[in-house]
């Protein structure tokens, strides 16, 4: 009862503001004027100053940020969406916070540890474009992949830059001294080569002071990918062990399959991708797939159909018009993935973008807000 009158009042207010400003809120109407004084300010994001940049190794760096007071904090393991203006366009990427909440409470700083994607549009640019004092925008923290405190036995499996949420969790345990000594934690950390292990010294120090923490650095050059033998060898693991997996999607898929073959209970397997819901892992074939997020439909993309044709042949009916890329009615948000624009003959960025469905052909796995 109460909530329905509240809802009505809200709706009336929305209508009123909409009629005066043609925007959803007064802040949106004034946003361009505010940006005049405060460049880069956004109604929907937290304006944040870059405090510094730390080079971790050849292809990783950590961005040290000082979020403004509007930022509501986070739990160890959560991620944020980082939005930066590049050549007049807002570009966004998801990153786990790699530092801990306790560190944030003490210093007001958070860290994002970012791998430079060699052929990427954003990450190689980021490291050159940002410096101390630059302005970026943050979303509030999101994600359910957080530090478990109740479980007795935990196995963390990290692949490459997937180490970041675990670093946050371990730093949290180390700084807050809240670690339950009964809790056993194993970290299996896979990296491309011996040079690619991040935060190695930190983890080793943590191991020294916490006898129930076991660190296994897995150099893929010598030991290869995740295997059942690697997991089986850890004799501190039991049937009650909860597994936490973070890394590139093929690695997550592989690890999940291995754990299932080892009869691990499905509710004991936790994993994390960055950003929007990834494509379902059950897909068997080599083909790429398109996930229509709102329709909860995932379809295989086997011939070079446009996204509009693909949607329509799967009984999803997006609004469309001219079908030749002129009218912009079929514009839709791509949450992730690369598409080829048949009109401009260009490839898209990998992050979130507005695309025209009628002239976009998916190149790899694509997630659409449709």
């Amino acid at each position: 009862m109460q909530s329905s009158t509240m809802g009505k009042r809200n709706k009336a207010w929305q209508w009123f503001i909409g009629s005066l400003t043609n925007h959803n809120s007064l802040a949106e109407y004034f946003e361009p004027l505010i940006q005049w004084v405060v460049p880069g300010w956004r109604t929907d994001l937290v304006r944040t100053r870059v405090h510094g940049i730390r080079h971790e190794n050849k292809d990783m760096f950590s961005l040290i940020l000082k979020p403004s007071r509007q930022w509501e904090g986070f739990q160890a393991g959560q991620y944020i969406e980082l939005t930066v203006e590049k050549d007049g366009a807002w570009v966004s990427r998801f990153f786990s916070v790699s530092s801990s909440p306790t560190y944030f409470q003490r210093t007001g700083l958070i860290e994002l540890s970012i791998r430079i994607q060699e052929k990427g549009n954003i990450t190689p640019w980021l490291i050159n474009a940002l410096h101390r004092g630059s302005i970026v925008n943050l979303s509030q923290a999101m994600g359910e992949f957080t530090l478990p405190t109740q479980q007795q036995s935990i196995c963390m499996i990290a692949g490459g830059s997937g180490i970041t949420p675990f670093r946050s969790m371990l730093q949290q345990l180390s700084l807050s001294q809240a670690h339950n000594p009964q809790q056993s934690i194993t970290l299996l950390y896979y990296a491309r080569s011996a040079q690619h292990f991040l935060f190695k010294d930190e983890f080793k120090n943590f191991e020294k002071s916490h006898p129930n923490f076991h660190l296994k650095l897995m150099d893929s050059e010598t030991v290869g990918n995740v295997s059942s033998a690697h997991i089986g060898l850890q004799n501190q693991l039991s049937a009650n062990t909860h597994f936490y997996i973070c890394g590139p999607s093929p690695m997550i898929m592989l690890t999940r399959r291995i754990l299932e073959s080892l009869n691990t209970k499905p509710d004991h397997i936790h994993y994390e991708f960055f950003g929007p819901e990834p494509l379902s892992l059950e897909l068997e074939s080599e083909n790429t797939a398109v996930l229509f997020d709102r329709s909860h439909k995932q379809v295989e993309n086997n011939n070079n159909q446009t996204l509009l044709e693909l949607a329509e042949s799967n009984a999803i009916k997006p609004v469309s018009g001219c079908r030749i890329g002129v009218c912009h009615q079929c514009i839709c948000q791509k949450k992730s993935g690369v598409v080829y624009n048949t009109k401009t003959k260009t490839y898209s960025d990998t992050g979130a973008q507005e695309i025209q469905l009628c002239i976009s052909v998916p190149v790899n796995d694509v997630v659409l807000d449709l």
Binding site: W15, F30, V326, Q329
Partner: protein, 375 residues
């Protein structure tokens, strides 16, 4: 060559053979590519600056109008400022943003999916018929209802009816209330309130949704300009009401005049649906040029018209940020010269005069019918 022959409907030139038009299309595509490479930071800055100017003139216009009780000059300046805000919002900002020209910015408030403008028409409805119907089927009689808006007879393709005798006055009425014409266009086309329901419809929403969107947007605009702002300035209620009314009307006259100059000038071509089936890109470009005309003027003039003064370039490249059109126009004009394609560009008064002439000319039945047969 008398005027009579000039104003008569012309069909596509028979000598425009497909392979030449393919080359023509290639050259235009290169102009587009070169321009798109330049699109970036400067464009984002430009559109943000314009939105700021629009906001400032919107706010100051409404305040100055109230100060009219001190001296009427404040009121006059206020009306002009508000009219300017509405013109900028509808043309250089709204029209171009709704064409997707700034979608690449990924800005939540400057994109074609979300933008809503300060006029009576629901922007989603406008996008359906304008971006699709008008821009895809430009000047195809029977498909592009923008050609005469179902009210005016502007070529011999349409049969003369007695109501065309007074169509000049219909035109004046449309001009003064243009935002309502825009708002009602799709509702009329779908025959929501009047007329026999069409057998086929491509409307992607239900008729109820269309009706709701029409009334909702109209109510919002009426509430803002004729209820809310006059009421909160109660002692000067009528002063504000009249000022808002006038500002809307100035915007209506201006947008209508510019748009008519873009499509209904003397040498505009019209097309039959059959001519345009399975068009190549070159033929499509060709039709866009033959169906549009440009206005010449300075930078401020271009901005105030939302660059619809470069109507041909806009029809060739509807999603290229419009501030590049004047530069592109030089190249397009040279390419048209090379392929012997007429490039219809002239000053405002010359083009407007020929629009008036066309409206008057087709008010009367054709004297002797000499239809030009397509080749």
């Amino acid at each position: 060559m008398n005027m009579q022959a000039n104003t008569a409907t012309q069909t596509r030139q028979p000598d425009a053979d497909p392979s030449t038009l393919d080359q023509f299309a290639n050259e235009l595509n290169k102009v587009r590519e070169r321009t798109m490479k330049k699109v970036g930071k400067a464009d984002a800055k430009y559109i943000r600056t314009l939105i700021r100017i629009q906001r400032l003139s919107d706010i100051s216009g409404r305040i100055l109008m109230v100060l009219g009780f001190i001296h009427p000059a404040y009121w006059v300046v206020g009306v002009i400022a508000l009219a300017t805000a509405k013109i900028l919002d509808n043309m250089e900002i709204g029209h171009n943003v709704l064409h997707g020209q700034y979608d690449w910015m990924n800005d939540p408030n400057i994109n074609s999916r979300k933008f809503e403008w300060d006029n009576a028409g629901d922007s989603a409805s406008w996008k359906r018929y304008h971006n699709h119907e008008h821009h895809t089927y430009t000047n195809i009689i029977g498909k592009d209802r923008d050609f005469g808006y179902g009210l005016l007879r502007l070529s011999s393709d349409t049969r003369w009816k007695p109501k065309n005798l007074w169509q000049f006055f219909t035109y004046i009425a449309l001009c003064l209330n243009f935002q309502w014409g825009i708002a009602y266009h799709e509702v009329a086309g779908e025959r929501i309130f009047m007329g026999k329901r069409k057998k086929t419809s491509n409307l992607p929403i239900t008729r109820e949704q269309l009706k709701y969107a029409f009334f909702n947007k109209a109510a919002r605009q009426l509430f803002k300009d004729y209820v809310f702002f006059p009421l909160i300035c109660f002692p000067v209620f009528f002063q504000v009401l009249a000022g808002n009314f006038l500002a809307n009307m100035i915007r209506d006259i201006w947008t209508n005049t510019i748009i008519f100059c873009g499509h209904f000038t003397e040498n505009i071509h019209t097309f039959k649906a059959s001519e345009c089936e399975n068009e190549s890109q070159g033929q499509w470009y060709h039709r866009q040029i033959l169906g549009s005309s440009n206005l010449e003027g300075g930078r401020l003039f271009h901005i105030m018209t939302g660059h619809l003064s470069c109507q041909m370039e806009h029809h060739l490249f509807p999603d290229v940020p419009a501030r590049h059109y004047p530069e592109m126009a030089k190249e397009v004009r040279a390419i048209c010269g090379k392929y012997n394609i007429p490039y219809n560009s002239a000053g405002f008064f010359k083009q407007y005069f020929s629009v008036v002439k066309r409206i008057l000319h087709y008010s009367f039945p054709d004297k002797q019918s000499t239809p030009v047969q397509p080749a």
